[in-house]
């Protein structure tokens, strides 16, 4: 009998049990490591071709398309000219931008792909965080908000209503690429796979061979090398986690994380990390970011109204992690969260 063995990614407080699957491949992409695990009763040569081409035909081309660092990417191209004229957009990217707009509405502005100027203003792009003067925040807020983005479905174009607006898919791109990989794998006959980006955004396709309950993902306190808080089982579901555990700075004793609230212009406070478990990795990626911004109360309202599910991690007065499960109880506890390591 095969058993889950390895623990691979621990970046986002999330652990992927790799186990004894037939093929696993990792490649650098989107500033981190993208991993695909693939199983199935097919010849080795077919599985290998499929897992390799998922990278060459899906992951890497999409990275080129979505990067906001590259002026020549589709996003870079849009950002450099959409304030002057409507820019034609590739069909699937246009669909993604429409979904982004819908997610902004769903989260009441907590998730917003125009947040880039604020992230820059706070120094998070260059890893040189600092509290900016209030007038800088105000100037950045002037060009933040999806209401500045005009999506024309007839012409399939995007335009900005002013100079300085920019798109940054950092809060959703990983999930989108995971979904496109899963779509590609399905199209080529795969029914048992796991795709994950950066250890933070995952889609579990089908039933894994080693666990009838589903793909088991361990949850650890974000940014801490302690034991797992518990695990979730996923089948045809996505999970994404967001938090301020990797990119933050401390000034005057206050910790500022890199997830900036697009509405206030200030980094989100209170929630250390949040997970979304939902139907697509695109949605999970965006919602997990939004949950950090919204905080427990508003997240609960969102989940309750829309049938979503969240795991929120905060720290108590003694800096011990507290997990709040909202909308469902997916977490299979392996030990009390306050038991320490």
């Amino acid at each position: 009998m095969r058993s889950a063995q390895a623990v691979d990614n621990q970046h986002g407080g999330l652990e992927v049990g790799a186990g004894d699957y037939r093929l696993r491949r990792r490649e650098e992409a989107m500033g981190s490591v993208f991993q695909i695990i693939l199983d199935g009763d097919r010849p080795e040569v077919e599985l290998r071709a499929l897992i390799e081409s998922a990278f060459t035909d899906v992951v890497h081309p999409l990275e080129m398309q979505l990067s906001h660092y590259r002026p020549s990417s589709d996003i870079g191209w849009i950002n450099s000219r959409a304030h002057r004229e409507p820019v034609p957009v590739e069909p699937r990217l246009f669909e993604l931008l429409v979904e982004c707009s819908e997610l902004t509405s769903l989260t009441r502005g907590a998730f917003d792909i125009t947040v880039g100027p604020l992230i820059r203003c706070w120094g998070f792009y260059r890893k040189d965080g600092r509290v900016p003067p209030s007038e800088e925040i105000s100037r950045a807020l002037d060009v933040v908000g999806m209401h500045h983005v005009i999506l024309d479905p007839e012409a399939r174009t995007v335009a900005f209503d002013r100079e300085g607006v920019e798109l940054n898919l950092g809060g959703i791109g990983k999930g989108y690429v995971v979904d496109r990989v899963v779509e590609y794998l399905r199209h080529h006959g795969a029914d048992c796979a796991l795709a994950e980006s950066g250890g933070s955004t995952i889609y579990a396709l089908g039933q894994p061979p080693i666990d009838p309950e589903g793909w088991r993902l361990g949850i650890r306190p974000a940014g801490q090398d302690t034991e797992r808080l518990g695990a979730v089982h996923l089948v045809d579901q996505a999970l994404s986690t967001s938090g301020d555990f990797r990119r933050f700075f401390v000034e005057d004793g206050v910790r500022y994380g890199h997830i900036v609230d697009p509405r206030s212009g200030w980094p989100a406070q209170g929630v250390r990390a949040a997970c979304s478990i939902t139907s697509s990795a695109t949605r999970a990626d965006a919602l997990s970011t939004a949950f950090v911004v919204l905080g427990p109360e508003d997240t609960e309202a969102l989940c309750s109204n829309n049938g979503e599910c969240a795991l929120m991690m905060t720290l108590d007065e003694e800096d011990s992690p507290e997990i709040n499960q909202i909308g469902c109880e997916p977490l299979e506890r392996t030990r009390p969260p306050d038991a320490g390591g």
């Binding site: 650098e28 992409a29 500033g31 040569v45 077919e46 290998r48 071709a49 499929l50 390799e52 081409s53 060459t56 035909d57 081309p61 990067s67 660092y69 590259r70 002026p71 020549s72 589709d74 191209w77 034609p88 590739e90 069909p91 479905p153 007839e154 012409a155 399939r156 199209h187 080529h188 006959g189």
Partner: protein, 442 residues
């Protein structure tokens, strides 16, 4: 020195071939002169065709008026990419497209063995041709394409996109022609990946009419000798072209090794090649391409190393991360090294101090109508993909009947070199290049 006027290549044609060059610069069509959009059809809507289309859609002077692929859904997908819910006609047979659509040019991005037949048919229809590299399956086919182009008096551009890369222009103008490398004595290049190069097959259909007994042979055409020269034509030809460009000369002999040594999956092209070209003046060019190990000290699967008496130039493209391309210069001890190191933006590569190439200082004639220095920033970010720049130049070439930076004569050189290298691998012999290797007679 090579420039966009194509003068050197016209001179080359005059001396190396007996072709009617004068006709080549004759007046173009009234439509092109009027500055109207260049109406283009795309033949081949797979991976590379999609890359070309995506980038060419950013060139406002081009209007895409038809798409063609023997897999109908791919042609329709490309048409949808051009226009939402589109009216762009699609075809599964390129001859039908050529006969029924009024247009000025075609872009060809199909399996290698179909390049020449489709290009020649397009010229016979009176169209300009942009053809993906490698130029053709055989050297004779390359020459047939050039003859057809000359007869039609149209433009032929080959898609060696590194000819449209600002970093490579910087290397050519500043370091090679500027003399900073000194006398070039050897070149090394690699394109190593850890990837079987095989793709999964998810299409069905009868493709025997086009030479494919089954869908696998169509999808994986790069793996079969009937359709492709494998690593040499699909990957190495890019880098051979760079070396030809930098050295401004062509090889005199080639030897090589390679085979199907790792992947027991029915492929008939080598999964590894190691070839050595010899050039006039004793310059050697060693080349490796493999599919089982992607390591490179330069952090990239793909690079060219040009060694001169004054220093070593390294160029990479297809880098992971936000910067597509990087280049470094390593001055030799006892040269101008100290002066260089005081002036330049330095970096550490494998424990060696190197000068980071900055193509924003590139001077000289423009590329596709724009200063090369504007095509890249100081951090190495391309402002436009090379594929876009090559289509921008294609428009200018068609409108002004001006030879493009990578015309058929240039494309033929790297194709011929790649084909000769495959023959050297197959025979195990050192093959001298015939004196008339690159000559075209009408």
């Amino acid at each position: 020195m090579m420039d966009n006027s194509g003068l050197d290549r016209r001179q080359f044609l005059k001396t190396a071939a007996t072709v009617a060059v004068g006709a080549h610069v004759a007046a173009s069509s009234a439509r092109a002169q009027d500055g109207q959009k260049l109406r283009m059809g795309l033949v081949g809507c797979g991976g590379q065709g999609t890359v070309l289309l995506t980038n060419a859609l950013r060139v406002p002077e081009i209007e895409w008026v038809a798409t063609c692929d023997i897999v109908e859904e791919k042609a329709k997908g490309a048409a949808e990419r051009i226009e939402e819910g589109g009216n762009v006609p699609t075809f599964t047979n390129y001859q039908d497209m050529l006969e029924s659509v009024e247009m000025d040019a075609v872009a060809i991005a199909v399996p290698l063995h179909w390049h020449a037949p489709i290009a020649i048919a397009a010229f016979e229809t009176g169209l300009h041709v942009f053809c993906e590299k490698c130029m053709a399956y055989t050297v004779d086919e390359c020459k047939d394409m050039i003859r057809a182009q000359m007869s039609a008096n149209k433009i032929l551009q080959i898609g060696h996109h590194l000819r449209y890369h600002p970093l490579y222009w910087h290397a050519k103008r500043t370091f090679v022609e500027g003399g900073l490398l000194g006398q070039i004595t050897s070149v090394y290049a690699q394109w190593n990946r850890n990837n079987s190069w095989r793709r999964p097959v998810a299409i069905e259909g009868d493709f025997t009419e086009w030479g494919y007994p089954d869908a696998d042979h169509l999808v994986n055409w790069r793996l079969y000798q009937e359709y492709s020269g494998g690593l040499m034509t699909e990957l190495a030809s890019h880098q051979i072209d760079v070396v030809t460009w930098m050295l401004d000369r062509t090889p005199t002999a080639v030897q090589g090794m390679g085979g199907v040594d790792f992947y027991d999956d029915g492929r008939t092209v080598p999964d590894n090649v190691h070839v050595s070209f010899q050039y006039p003046g004793g310059v050697t060019f060693d080349y490796i391409s493999g599919t089982t190990n992607a390591f490179s000290i330069f952090g990239n699967q793909c690079h060219e190393v040009i060694k001169g008496t004054e220093g070593t130039l390294v160029m990479t493209h297809l880098n992971p991360g936000p910067t597509d391309s990087m280049g470094w210069f390593f001055p030799e001890e006892g040269t101008q090294r100290e002066i260089w190191m005081d002036m330049a933006h330095k970096t550490d590569i494998g424990g060696h101090e190197a000068i980071l190439l900055d193509a924003t200082v590139t001077e000289g004639p423009p590329l596709a109508g724009q200063p090369i220095s504007t095509l890249i920033d100081e951090e190495g970010h391309l402002q436009k993909m090379t594929y876009q720049v090559e289509f921008e130049e294609f428009v200018i070439s068609c409108r002004e009947m001006k030879l493009p930076s990578c015309d058929g004569m240039i494309g033929m050189k790297s194709a011929a070199d790649a084909i000769m290298a495959n023959q050297a691998i197959a025979t195990g012999e050192t093959l001298p290049f015939p004196e008339d290797m690159y000559e075209v007679t009408m």
